[in-house]
Subunit: 447 residues, 2 copies
C-alpha cells in the first residue's frame, strides 16, 4: 500500500512549506483523499494545502470534511473565499455546517448568502437536529405525473446539472403532492410516449422530514434505495435523502453505538484531530458514575468480611469470577444492542430474548464451571473450587439475562439502547455476582 508513504508526504511537505510539492501532491489525489489527509492535520496546518487547491476542487474537498474541520478551515479564509464556498455548497451540507457552528460563524455565513440560498438554508435549519430535514437536499428535478417519458427526459437533461441527484426523480400531482418516484434507470429504458403516471412506483417508501435521520438511513439500506423521498405533514414533496448522506449517517451512528457500548460519549470527529481533554471529557462521565456504583462491590465484600477472614482463598477467585460474569454480560448486551440497531430484534421480543439468553448463559456457565473447577482444585483445593464452579454457573446465567434485558428495557422506555454499555452491565454483574458467590460460599462452606 502506498497509503503510508503518501500520508507522510503531504504532512512533510506542509511542514517544510514546500508549496510546489504540495501543489503536485494535490494534483495527483482525489478530493476525498485530500480531505482525508487534511482531517489528520490541525486547522492551522490544513489551511495551507487547502488554499493551494484549484477553485473548482476547493468545494469538493470542503464538502468531504466534518463540520468541525470545515469550521476551522472557514476561519482561516478571507471573506471572499469564505462566502464563495458557502454559496456553492449543497444546501443540506451548508445547513448542517451552520447548525453546528458557533453563532459568530453562523451569522457571518448566513449574511453572505444570496437570498435564494439563504431561503433554502433557513428552511432546512427549521427542522430539528438529527432529523431527515437537516440531511435532505431540496435541489432535485421534480416530474409531474402527467408528463410523457420523452418530455420528462428532456426536463432532466435540461435541469439535471443543478440538481444534487437525478437518479431518483420524485413524481408529484398538482400542489407538489407526492405520488411516488421514478428512477432515472426506469425513465431511460422506457418508451418516449409512455406517461410518467404509468411507470411511477407509487409504493416507493417516503419519510417525513421531521423523522429521525438514522431510521430513514436504515430504511434506505434495507430497501436498497439510492435516494429516499421526503414529504411534509401534508404529503407534499420537500426533498430527497441521498445514499451518500445515508451512508455517513449510518457510519456515524455505528461509531456512536460503539463508543457508547464502551461507556464513552461519542466524539463525532476524526480521532487524530481530537484533543486529549475532549477525550477525557467524553470518557470520564460514565467512569465516574461507575466507580461510585462500584462502591456496592465494596459493601458486599464488607458484608462478608468474616467469611473472607475465615477462608482467605475465597478472595483469590474474586477477579476471575466477576471477570467471567462481566464478559458474558457484555457479550449479551453487545449482541442485543446491535440486533436492535439493525432491526433484527424488537421490544416485543423481550420474553423470547431473555429465555434464549438465559439458556445461552446457563450453557456457557456449565462449560466455564468445568474449567473453574479444575483451576480451583489445582490451586487451592476442592471445597473452594466447588463454590467457585457453582458461582460461575449462576453468575453467567444471571449476567446473560441482565445483559440482554437491559438494552430492551432501555428501548422500551425510549432511551437509546446503546447507552446500556458493557461497563455498566459489568459493574452491575460485579456487585450482584459477588452477592451470589458469597451466599453460595456461606451455604457450602458453612462460614
Amino acid at each position: 500500500m502506498s497509503e503510508g508513504e503518501r500520508a507522510e508526504e503531504l504532512i512533510d511537505l506542509v511542514e517544510n512549506n514546500d508549496l510546489t510539492g504540495i501543489r503536485l501532491w494535490l494534483a495527483e489525489h482525489r478530493p476525498y483523499e485530500i480531505a482525508d489527509e487534511l482531517s489528520r492535520m490541525d486547522g492551522g496546518e490544513a489551511i495551507i494545502p487547502f488554499r493551494l487547491l484549484d477553485k473548482d476542487r476547493e468545494l469538493e474537498v470542503f464538502e468531504e470534511l466534518d463540520p468541525g474541520q470545515q469550521q476551522s478551515i472557514l476561519l482561516g479564509l478571507r471573506d471572499t473565499a469564505f462566502h464563495e464556498i458557502l454559496e456553492e455548497m449543497d444546501p443540506d451540507d451548508r445547513a448542517r455546517l451552520i447548525g453546528e457552528a458557533p453563532a459568530k460563524i453562523a451569522t457571518r455565513a448566513l449574511a453572505g448568502l444570496s437570498p435564494a440560498e439563504r431561503r433554502m438554508t433557513a428552511a432546512l435549519l427549521g427542522y430539528p437536529e438529527d432529523s431527515v430535514g437537516r440531511y435532505m437536499t431540496p435541489e432535485t428535478v421534480i416530474l409531474h405525473r402527467d408528463l410523457a417519458v420523452g418530455r420528462a427526459l428532456e426536463v432532466v437533461r435540461a435541469r439535471g446539472a443543478e440538481a444534487e441527484t437525478i437518479y431518483t426523480l420524485p413524481v408529484v400531482s398538482d400542489g407538489r403532492r407526492m405520488v411516488g418516484t421514478v428512477t432515472l434507470g426506469d425513465l431511460v429504458v422506457s418508451d418516449d410516449e409512455r406517461l410518467i403516471k404509468d411507470i411511477v412506483d407509487v409504493f416507493a417508501p417516503r419519510v417525513r422530514a421531521t423523522e429521525p435521520v438514522e431510521d430513514a438511513a436504515r430504511l434506505m439500506q434495507e430497501a436498497n434505495l439510492v435516494a429516499l423521498a421526503v414529504v411534509d405533514s401534508e404529503e407534499r414533496f420537500v426533498g430527497l435523502l441521498t445514499f451518500d448522506d445515508a451512508l455517513e449517517v449510518i457510519e456515524a451512528a455505528d461509531s456512536e453505538d460503539m463508543a457508547l457500548q464502551s461507556g464513552a460519549s461519542p466524539v463525532g470527529e476524526h480521532y487524530v484531530s481530537v484533543g486529549v481533554l475532549r477525550l477525557v471529557g467524553a470518557r470520564s462521565v460514565w467512569l465516574m458514575l461507575l466507580i461510585v456504583a462500584a462502591t456496592l462491590t465494596v459493601n458486599v465484600m464488607q458484608a462478608f468480611e468474616s467469611a473472607l477472614e475465615a477462608v482467605t482463598a475465597l478472595a483469590l477467585f474474586v477477579p476471575m469470577l466477576i471477570g467471567t460474569g462481566g464478559n458474558v454480560g457484555a457479550q449479551s448486551a453487545t449482541a442485543i444492542v446491535r440486533a436492535l440497531a439493525v432491526g433484527e430484534v424488537r421490544v416485543r421480543d423481550l420474553p423470547s430474548v431473555i429465555w434464549k439468553e438465559a439458556r445461552v448463559g446457563l450453557l456457557l456457565g456449565l462449560l466455564l464451571a468445568v474449567l473453574a473447577l479444575a483451576i480451583g482444585s489445582l490451586l487451592v483445593g476442592v471445597d473452594v473450587a466447588v463454590v467457585v464452579a457453582c458461582s460461575v454457573i449462576a453468575v453467567c446465567t444471571w449476567a446473560a439475562v441482565i445483559g440482554s434485558s437491559m438494552p430492551l428495557f432501555a428501548r422500551k422506555v425510549g432511551v437509546d439502547p446503546a447507552v446500556v454499555s458493557s461497563p455498566m452491565v459489568t459493574t452491575i454483574v460485579d456487585a450482584t455476582g459477588l452477592l451470589i458467590y458469597f451466599s453460595i460460599a456461606t451455604v457450602v462452606l458453612g462460614v
Copy 2:
C-alpha cells in the same frame, strides 16, 4: 409505529394457516418488508408465505434474504421453482449463495442453470471468499470511449433493462481495457454530439477483483460512489460493485467488529433465527481462553496472600479497582479499533496514539483517584484509601496504553484489530493491575 402490529399479524396468519389473510398481507407490503418478516421465522414456517407470493415478487423477496435463509427456502421448493429462482437471480447474489451452500444444494443449483448463467457464476466463484469478485456484478452496460453521447444513450436505453445497474457506466478502450467511468447523470446532461472520451472520469477509483470487499466498500463510502469499477490484473474491466452490496458488506463488517469487540465470533445471521447452541459456540471460545488466562489473577492474589491476610481491607477494593482499569482499557481499545476500521488511524500513528492515550489515561486516573480516595476513606480508612487512589492512577494510565496499543500491534502483524476485544484487554489489565495494586500496598503499608 405499526411495525409491532404488522409483525404479529404475519406470524399469526401463518400459525393459523390463514391463506387468504397471508395473501392480503403480502400484497400490502414491499419485498424488503416481507423478507424481514420471513427472516424472523424458521425455514418451515417461512416457506408458506413464500409460496403464496406472485411469481414476479418471489425473486425480489428471495434476493433480500441472507444466504442461510435462502438455503432453507430453496430446500422447501419443488425443482421447477428452485431452478427458476436461481436462473433469474443476479449472478453475484447467486455466486455467494452457491459458494456458501452445502455441496448438495450447490451441485443441484449449478446443474439446473442455463449455460450462460452457469459460466457467469463459475467465473465469480473463482474469486476468493470475501473478495470483490464475489460481490461484483458482471451485468453492466459497457461503453467504448469512441462512442458519441447520443449513441451511448441509445445503447443504454436498449440494453439497460438487463443490467443490474446503469448509474455508473464503465468506459473501455479496445480489449475491454478500463479507461474510466461515466455516470448516467453525466451522460444525460451532456450534448448528444460529445464523445464519451471527453466526458469520461479517468480518475474514477477502481479496484482489483481479488481485493478484500470490505476495503472496496469503505472506499465507496469515502468517495461517495454509487458503483465502483472492478478490473483484473491486466486492467481489463470485469464488473461493478454496487452501493447496495457495499452497504451490506459494511453493515456485516460492523456487526462482526462489534461481536469481536465483545469477545464473540460473529454469527452473521438474523439474531432471532440463530439457535442457542450456535450462540454458545460463537461465544464460548474466547470465554474459555479468558477464564484460563484469569488464572493469572489467582496467582497474583496468591503471591500477595500474606499481605491480604494482614490487611483484609485490601481485598475489599479489588473489584472496584480492576473494574475501573478494565473500563478505561476497554474504552481505549474500542476507540482505536473503530478508528482503524474507518481509516482514521493507521499503523504508523502508533507512537502518537500511545502518547495521547497515556495522557488521557493519566488524567482519567487522577479524576477517578479523587473519588476512590473519598470512598476508601469513608469505608475503611485513609491508609488503604491512599493505596487504592495511587493504584487507580497507575492502573488507568497502564490500561489506556494497553488498550490502545494492542489493536495497533494486531494490525501491524496482519491480524484483524477487532479481535483485541474488550474482555481480552480487561483480563490483561486485571492481572497486571493487581500486581500494581499489591506492589503499591506493600510499599505504602509495609505489609
